[in-house]
């Protein structure tokens, strides 16, 4: 069981690493946000699930496990809303990528 917990944490560290590399390499705002989602989903959830298993099995502390689960639920609920508002706000403010996007239906439909 200990190996499962370690594997979960290592996997989430790998995804967080990939997300950070992506954030540094991606060419524009929106692509950077896509890469940041990588950190905030698998990068966080692996650590939280590993923590739940560790505190439930090795520490025998059910209270801590439940609190970690609540943390994960709140994280999952609030994170996409912030991402959506950031992307929409950036677009409305006039942020456009340097290299042209392949297709931009938002511009075609809303700006004459």
């Amino acid at each position: 069981m200990r190996y499962v917990i370690d594997a979960l944490i290592v996997i989430s560290i790998f995804f967080a690493f990939a997300g950070v590399v992506g954030m540094l390499r991606m060419p524009d705002t929106f692509c950077r946000m896509q890469s940041a989602t990588n950190i905030s989903t698998c990068g966080i959830l692996g650590v939280i699930i590993g923590g739940i298993l560790y505190s439930a099995i090795y520490l025998g502390n059910a209270e801590m496990a439940i609190k970690l689960a609540v943390m994960g639920v709140f994280y999952i609920i609030t994170n996409p809303i912030a991402g959506h508002i950031l992307a929409k706000g950036a677009y409305k403010h006039g942020v456009r990528p340097e290299n042209k996007m392949v297709v931009d239906r938002l511009e075609e439909d809303f700006e004459q």
Partner: protein, 185 residues
């Protein structure tokens, strides 16, 4: 703003009470049979108060819709198995793109039709799409055509395979919409 109905207040209070039990650590103590009754009673009073004030914002449709056992089970299945699997696939895809030397990205904003009518269903789908790496929902609109109203999402997609609405929708939503349709019409 419409007034809060009694079932809406009760439904909100139940959700608040569950959170109270988790956060104060009483849920673990309930199983061991040593929960403090003062904390339980105070939690019930506070969640009723919160339900009175927040019920009308929290519940817009039928109050006990999600408490139906079949829907609750489908929802839990979606949250525990279906959605994490989609999440893992998308995570692996974006991580591969970020780490590969050529940086194979192809970004664009596509328009996707949505078949869900319920506003809870739509927000669940939009949040699922945003949480999946590689896609961000940017705008939700409604258009009236001859056959009735059709809702659309504008989605920023990191690798645009096709700009055609239906195909892009199938590629982005995957199995998520099919499962959400079993919960909300």
């Amino acid at each position: 703003m419409k007034k809060a109905t009694f079932p809406a207040v009760i439904s909100t209070a139940i959700v608040c009470y569950l959170f109270w039990l988790c956060i104060t650590g009483q849920l673990a103590m309930l199983f061991e049979g040593e929960a403090a009754w003062q904390v339980l009673v105070a939690g019930a009073l506070v969640s009723l108060g919160v339900g009175l004030f927040a019920g009308k914002y929290f519940i817009h449709e039928r109050s006990f819709y999600l408490w139906h056992p079949a829907r609750l089970f489908t929802g839990l299945l979606y949250c525990i198995i279906i959605f994490p699997w989609e999440l893992l696939k998308a995570n692996w895809d974006v991580a591969k793109r970020a780490l590969s030397p050529k940086l194979p990205i192809n970004p664009g904003i596509v328009k996707v039709p949505v078949d869900l009518q319920s506003e809870y269903g739509q927000s669940a789908l939009a949040n699922s799409i945003t949480l999946t790496p590689g896609t961000i929902t940017m705008e939700v609109t409604e258009e009236t055509t001859d056959e009735g109203e059709q809702d659309y999402f504008y989605i920023h997609w990191i690798d645009v395979a096709t700009a055609e609405e239906k195909e892009a929708g199938d590629a982005i939503k995957g199995t998520m919409e099919k499962w959400l349709r079993r919960i909300w019409k």
